[in-house]
Symmetry: C2
Subunit: 210 residues, 2 copies
DNA sequence: CATGTATTGCCAATTATATCACAATCCGGG
DNA sequence: CCCGGATTGTGATATAATTGGCAATACATG
């Protein structure tokens, strides 16, 4: 199992996790691929195949135990270990990420925000301090930082990434609307809000019944 | 041409648009599929095939005219017509969307935010008013609203969607971390920030060289 | 205006992804 | 403890997406 997992499967994993959490919260203890498929708008076959990339978590004639499966998928997603984040840019997006309620439940802990604007530096969001961008290097070298979130203007994003690499950060969650260049041993996942909105626009322009 | 365009192509279109805009800004007037492919990390073949879904915009022995191609793709994406947005939820995400700089350039115009918290209602973000959620129905019935952005807590999202449908809105850009039920003639595009961060976590947990 | 070169458009081949079908097997009830 | 009904795990098949290859053709040059 887990020989090679395709991108398509990885994209669906968080969806499984989300639905399983909801089912667990609703008190459902077991579910079949049939039922889960109806819920998620996927075929039962696809669900069984996806889950089987990682091993046989189900039981014939019964289905999957919700709590077990959620646990396994959480582990596969790496949510059992804590991730320490810093956020570059304390604007709306940076603050939104810092305060997003579900992240902390999933092991993502924001330890600091960074900004250049003097009126933002020194404040706190909850218990997260907003530090000056000039102190970034020292901070990163003296603290464990697993992920850096880029929530700053496009023009500063590439330079910030280059510095972060130099200081040792190897994973980036990027909100700047640009495809940043990065070394092979650095992971970059883009959010690209604009792309998502443009997809909606495309579908509106091309839907059959207007 | 344009018989049926696959999801995979639609997902890539905004990327083409973004890169073409950058090229145009950089003063590049023409580009080959080869060069564009290197820039975007796609094969030249794929680029030619993608673009050909919509017609032959290129010229043999020469490549594509950047401005022309950008214009065509903008049109295909529906960016030539204005879209009027309302945003439900004036928290960090709602405000981030309202003030996101590139949206207005692409024809997306936010005309109002809605919230239930009294201390937010009555203020403005730039020239966009924050109105009380109770006035949503009246507002939507009296104004043209093309897209509603859901930037409110998960527990309120489904109900909000149902109301919006009733009032006549037929396109939703959803930031709530839930897969909302919706009628067939309503378009819903999800952002699901958590999914994106979990994908990063997955890749961190499974990368070869730690 | 003729010629060589670069590059598209497009069809074929390959690879990836999703679905189907069914044997293996586990649960629950009697 | 055994049997019936349900549901998984999985190999085979179908469908979709990507890449390769090449003829057609437009541009640039002299």
């Amino acid at each position: 199992m887990a020989g090679h997992v395709s991108d398509a499967v990885i994209r669906r994993l968080p969806g499984y996790y989300r639905h399983l959490r909801e089912l667990e919260a609703a008190g459902v203890t077991a579910i079949s691929s049939q039922e889960l498929g109806e819920r998620m708008h996927l075929t039962p076959s696809q669900i069984r195949q996806d889950i089987n990339c990682f091993g046989g978590f189900g039981r014939q004639g019964y289905g999957y135990k919700v709590a077990d499966l959620k646990g396994h998928i959480g582990e596969i997603l790496g949510l059992t270990q804590e991730h320490r984040l810093i956020i570059l840019g304390a604007g709306n997006i940076g603050c939104a990420v810092a305060q997003y309620p579900t992240f902390s439940r999933e092991g993502f802990r924001t330890i600091a925000l960074f900004d250049t604007q003097e009126n933002k530096v020194g404040r706190c969001l909850g218990d997260i301090p907003v530090l000056h961008m000039d102190t970034l290097e020292t901070f990163v070298r003296e603290n464990v930082v697993d992920i850096a979130v880029l929530a700053l203007p496009k023009r500063n994003a590439q330079e910030a990434l280059d510095h972060l690499y130099e200081y040792g950060v190897r994973a980036i969650w990027n909100f700047a609307p640009a495809d940043l260049n990065h070394p092979d041993d650095m992971l970059v996942v883009n959010v690209h809000l604009s792309d998502s909105l443009q997809q909606l626009s495309y579908r509106m322009a091309h839907r059959e019944h207007p």
